[in-house]
Each structure stands twice: as structure tokens, then as C-alpha cells.
């Protein structure tokens, strides 16, 4: 049991639990867990996803947080990290696509009516 307000690292050093998906030389899609942090009586294990694209002449990396695993008295809870900004952006783009599609279909139907 930790003292209130104190922080300690349960797993010092390297990341743990790296899960590789779609792994090959060019593209790597990995899931990684950062070292656990103990705050009060809670053990937090932040998790993330990494997309690595390697070229012979360069590289591209996209790293985003996905969830936090909270462990308290043996009970494990997963708190997802939602990227609200990206969701709203995608929602706006999706809405725009839907509106344009609907309008173009309506106009196409009107034209067909006029022709007939």
C-alpha cells in the first residue's frame, strides 16, 4: 500500500506487453503499454498504439494513446481515451459527404422527372 499522494513506478525501465499487429519490414502496427504508475492505492498502466512506416530513405510514425488500465484491490478497469477533436472533425466531414450525396441524389431524381 502506497502513501496518499505518492507516486512510484511499478515497472521501471522499458515498456511492457508490446503486441505487434500487421508487422513486416515496411509497416508496423504495435500496441504498447507504458510502465505502470502507482498513485494512492491505484496502479495505472497507460496503453498506446504506434503506426510505423519505414522507407529506405526515411520513416513516418504516428503514436496515439488508447486507454488506461486502472487496478485497485485486484479489480481491473479499462478507461478508454477518446480523441474528441478527431471524432468531431471526422463527424463534420462525414456529415458534409452525406449532405452532398443526398442533395445530388435529389437533383438527379428531379432531372429524371423533368425528362420524363
Amino acid at each position: 500500500m502506497q502513501e496518499h499522494g505518492s507516486i512510484s513506478h511499478a515497472n521501471q525501465g522499458m515498456a511492457k506487453g508490446v503486441d505487434m499487429r500487421g508487422s513486416n519490414d515496411l509497416v508496423q502496427w504495435q500496441k504498447a503499454s507504458v510502465r505502470s504508475v502507482v498513485v494512492h492505492d491505484l496502479t495505472l498502466t497507460p496503453q498506446s498504439q504506434v503506426l510505423t512506416v519505414r522507407f529506405p530513405w526515411g520513416a513516418f510514425i504516428w503514436h496515439r494513446p488508447t486507454a488506461v488500465q486502472v487496478e485497485q484491490n485486484g479489480r481491473v478497469e479499462m478507461l478508454p481515451i477518446v480523441d474528441l477533436t478527431r471524432l468531431i472533425q471526422l463527424g463534420l466531414v462525414g456529415l458534409g459527404v452525406v449532405v452532398i450525396t443526398v442533395i445530388s441524389f435529389v437533383q438527379l431524381a428531379r432531372r429524371k422527372e423533368k425528362v420524363s
Binding site: 496518499h4 499522494g5 507516486i7 515498456a15 508490446v18 504495435q30 504498447a32 503499454s33 507504458v34 510502465r35 504508475v37 498513485v39 494512492h40 491505484l42 495505472l44 497507460p46 498506446s48 504506434v50 510505423t52 522507407f55 530513405w57 526515411g58 520513416a59 513516418f60 510514425i61 504516428w62 503514436h63 496515439r64 494513446p65 488506461v68 486502472v70 478507461l79 478508454p80 481515451i81 477518446v82 480523441d83 474528441l84 477533436t85 468531431i88 472533425q89 463534420l92 466531414v93 456529415l95 458534409g96 449532405v99 452532398i100 442533395i103 445530388s104 437533383q107 428531379r110 432531372r111
Partner: protein, 148 residues
């Protein structure tokens, strides 16, 4: 010949330097890169979670050749043995960039753990303006097309 080998070794050295620089991009892939160190204030501890994107690349080129002897000089050198004029050149270049933005804040307090999302209003506004503008432009074009 010596010049060519000098150029080749110089180019290889530069390429190695750039490749080492590109390797630094991979530090963005380290698991600890997206989560900050915990900060405690009173009964609360805060950890920020950020999204990181990084990219870079480099390229190099070398070229060698012998200059053709101009016809007017051909007569002058006809008596002696013609000396071929060889030359070469090379270049190395590279570039890269990275960006990061906070996605959420993890708050650990007496009530437990809460994850609060960080909303980037500027990005949303920019996306909204872009979508709205594109929609208006497409609608105008569609109206013009239907009038024809």
C-alpha cells in the same frame, strides 16, 4: 579517379549522418512519448496523454562524366595525345518534421480516476469552415449544371 573515390566516401558519410538523424524520429515511437510524467498538486495527480506524429526522409545523388572535346580544340590536340577531362558532383539532402497535441488528461483524485478529453476548438472550427466551404462550392456547381 581519386576525386571520384573522395566524392563517394564523402557522400557515404553524409548519408550515414542523415540516416542517424532519421533514426531519431523513432524516439517518437517509444511508449513513454505520449504520456507525460505524473504531476501532483494536493490530493490530485495529473497525467497528460498526447498524440504524436513524426516523419522525415533524405536522399542523395552522384554523377560522373567526361566532358566532350570541342571540335576547334580537336585540331590543337591532334598532334599530342588527347587528355580526357573527367568530372563529377554529388549532393545529399533531407528534411523532417513532427507534431504533437494533447488528447486527454488523466486525473487521479480522491474520487478515483477520470479521463477528461481535450477539445481543440481551433481545429474543429477549421474543419467546419473547410467542410462548409466545400459544400457551398459543390452546391453552386450543381445548381449551375442543372440550369444548363
Amino acid at each position: 579517379m581519386e576525386t571520384i573515390s573522395n566524392l563517394l566516401t564523402l557522400s557515404q558519410k553524409r548519408e550515414e549522418q542523415l540516416s542517424r538523424a532519421v533514426e531519431k524520429i523513432y524516439s517518437a515511437a517509444q511508449p513513454g512519448a505520449v504520456y507525460s510524467e505524473p504531476v501532483t498538486a494536493g490530493n490530485y495527480t495529473v497525467i497528460t496523454a498526447s498524440e504524436i506524429a513524426a516523419g522525415g526522409g533524405f536522399g542523395s545523388g552522384l554523377g560522373f562524366g567526361s566532358a566532350p572535346t570541342p571540335p576547334e580544340q580537336q585540331g590543337e590536340t591532334s598532334g599530342r595525345e588527347a587528355q580526357p577531362t573527367n568530372g563529377g558532383g554529388g549532393g545529399v539532402g533531407g528534411g523532417g518534421g513532427s507534431s504533437g497535441r494533447p488528447v486527454a488528461i488523466i486525473i487521479i483524485g480522491p474520487d478515483g480516476v477520470t479521463v477528461k478529453p481535450v477539445v481543440d476548438v481551433t481545429k474543429i472550427a477549421l474543419a467546419g469552415v473547410t467542410v462548409w466551404g466545400t459544400m457551398l462550392m459543390l452546391l453552386r456547381r450543381m445548381r449551375k449544371a442543372s440550369k444548363r
